[in-house]
């Protein structure tokens, strides 16, 4: 199991999409740029008009760790934490779902994992294994 996501006004769209099984990023309507982490305003054109776009869910592992001591709170066993460079150029902190540790440069594909409160968060698997 894992803890529920923390939700805020500016980020609720992301976690709600996860519950629908969609991995999305904030999209600026006027200039079409994607941003993560979400923010109230587009830092390029300063528009407040935003929606979200579905991402391919493909990326590569930039870095990985496993929090051993203290063990990750809310988990049965500390997961592999990865920093993923997404195909769209954004970066995302997530988990690598596998018995074995990931490798830097490994291609990964998004999946979803349930949280203790019945929510969902995006996690990643080795690309060829999906």
């Amino acid at each position: 199991m894992r803890p529920d996501p923390i939700q805020r006004i500016d980020t609720a769209f992301f976690w709600e999409a996860c519950e629908r099984g969609e991995f999305v990023a904030q999209k600026c309507e006027p200039c079409n740029k994607l941003w993560h982490p979400p923010r109230p305003m587009c830092p390029d054109c300063h528009s407040l008009e935003k929606s979200h776009a579905k991402l391919s869910g493909k990326g590569t592992v930039m870095s990985w760790v496993r929090q051993v001591r203290p063990a990750s709170f809310g988990f049965k066993e500390s997961p592999f934490v990865i920093l993923v460079e997404l195909e769209e150029g954004l970066r995302f902190v997530s988990n690598f779902e596998s018995e074995d540790a990931p490798e830097i440069g490994m291609a990964v594909q998004v999946d979803f994992a349930k949280t203790s409160g019945g929510k969902a968060v995006p996690v990643f698997k080795k690309a060829s294994s999906v």
């Binding site: 051993v68 934490v81 902190v93 830097i104």
Partner: protein, 385 residues
């Protein structure tokens, strides 16, 4: 640049003992450290007219004033970014006194990191907003919940690219503990470690940080008093001049959870600070006599050595291996034993050590130290005679 008589100087330092159980409130630790700094300087605490600390300090300005009897303060602010703000305080202190807003400026920090809470454990009470630079929302549900985990994840690309091994990191820890072993104020006084001890210490975060790659959780308080040169000359101590103090934060970066911008190889904010410091101080960090570099975790030393231009990108592990950080090397590193060896008062005890080195009163005194570099990632300062 300010005229000589207007230049900011550190004129008083104070610190409590560094322990794992202070047995008193953080507010008392703060008050004790402030009083010691005032007595060291030879000023009346009532005359303090400006004060500053940074995020995660639980002593309010009102607490300090109430204990010390400060009559009126004209400037205060609470800096963001946790320990990265430790040297940023010098930027503000310099501006506050050189602008004439304040005459007697206090920097304080007091924490019961070990006995009252566990500073290195998951911070459940942190706001999901960006306080202290950590966007918890994007880390917590994935089990990255401690400073050590964020640090290791952020340093991964750098460590991987240059093939930096656990032994490379271990040499840094050994260096700190060697210095601490001959500093009576250090928690790890007379307790040096070997590289084997480091290699046998348990994992905190795989595959990067062992126990001995991490700073401590400490209880203690630290304070400094800053004034202008024209006032400093009548006080008890030799004034330690602030030759330059600079800060830098770039778009889309965070502090310890720095994941979203840059190549995570270079540390652009440190590079910017190094360039500006050299311009204002007339001396580069690498040409100073002592390096007090923030050591929350060992990889930070490598990245800051490169960011502050002591060596080229990717060269820091060899810079360490070649012995340059030893107390008789060309870059004597934190002769107090740093935050790993002496105590972790969130960076501030490294600043008081820099002052002692310039005064010539340190336990592990570097011969003829004329200048010292103080660094905490996003901020740097050069102090000197």
């Amino acid at each position: 640049m300010s005229s000589a008589s207007q230049q900011a100087c550190i004129v008083g330092i104070g610190q409590t003992e560094f322990s794992k159980a202070s047995g008193r409130s953080e507010q008392q630790l703060a008050a004790e450290a402030v009083l010691l700094a005032c007595q060291d300087a030879g000023i009346d605490p009532k005359s303090i007219d400006g004060m500053i600390t940074y995020a995660l300090d639980h002593s309010d300005e009102v607490d300090i004033m109430r204990s010390l009897g400060c009559e009126e303060i004209k400037y205060t602010t609470r800096l963001p970014q946790g320990g990265a703000a430790s040297v940023s305080t010098i930027v503000h202190a310099k501006n506050a006194v050189e602008s004439g807003i304040c005459d007697t400026f206090l920097i304080f920090r007091a924490m019961n990191e070990r006995s009252q809470y566990r500073f290195g454990q998951p911070h459940f009470n942190l706001s999901p907003d960006a306080h202290s630079s950590t966007f918890m929302e994007w880390c917590f549900p994935f089990g990255a919940q401690t400073p050590a985990a964020w640090e290791a994840l952020s340093c991964g690309p750098y460590l991987h690219k240059y093939g930096i091994t656990s032994e490379d990191l271990g040499r840094i820890a050994v260096t700190f503990r060697k210095a601490a072993a001959s500093n009576p104020a250090a928690w790890f006084y007379e307790k040096p470690i070997t590289l084997d001890d480091h290699q046998n210490s348990r994992w905190i975060v795989e595959p990067t940080l062992r126990l001995l790659d991490c700073c401590q959780e400490s209880d203690g308080g630290v304070a400094l008093i800053i004034t202008r040169a024209d006032k400093a000359k009548d006080l008890k101590q030799m004034p330690v001049r602030i030759l330059g103090a600079e800060y830098s934060m770039f778009f889309n970066h965070e502090i310890i959870s720095d994941f979203y911008a840059g190549d995570l190889i270079r540390t652009e904010n440190s590079e910017s600070v190094a360039d500006r410091l050299e311009a204002v101080a007339g001396i580069a960090p690498k040409d100073t006599n002592v390096a007090m570099i923030y050591d929350n975790f060992t990889p930070q030393i490598l990245r800051q050595l490169e960011g502050f231009k002591y060596c080229g990108i990717g060269e820091a592990k060899d810079y360490v291996k070649d012995g340059h950080l030893e107390l008789d090397g060309k870059t004597p590193l934190s002769p107090n034993g740093g935050l790993m060896g002496e105590g972790y008062i969130h960076g501030m005890n490294n600043i008081t050590e820099g002052v002692r080195q310039i005064r010539g009163t340190a336990a592990n005194q570097i011969n003829n130290a004329q200048t010292a570099f103080l660094a905490s990632g996003v901020a740097g300062a050069i102090i000197g005679k």
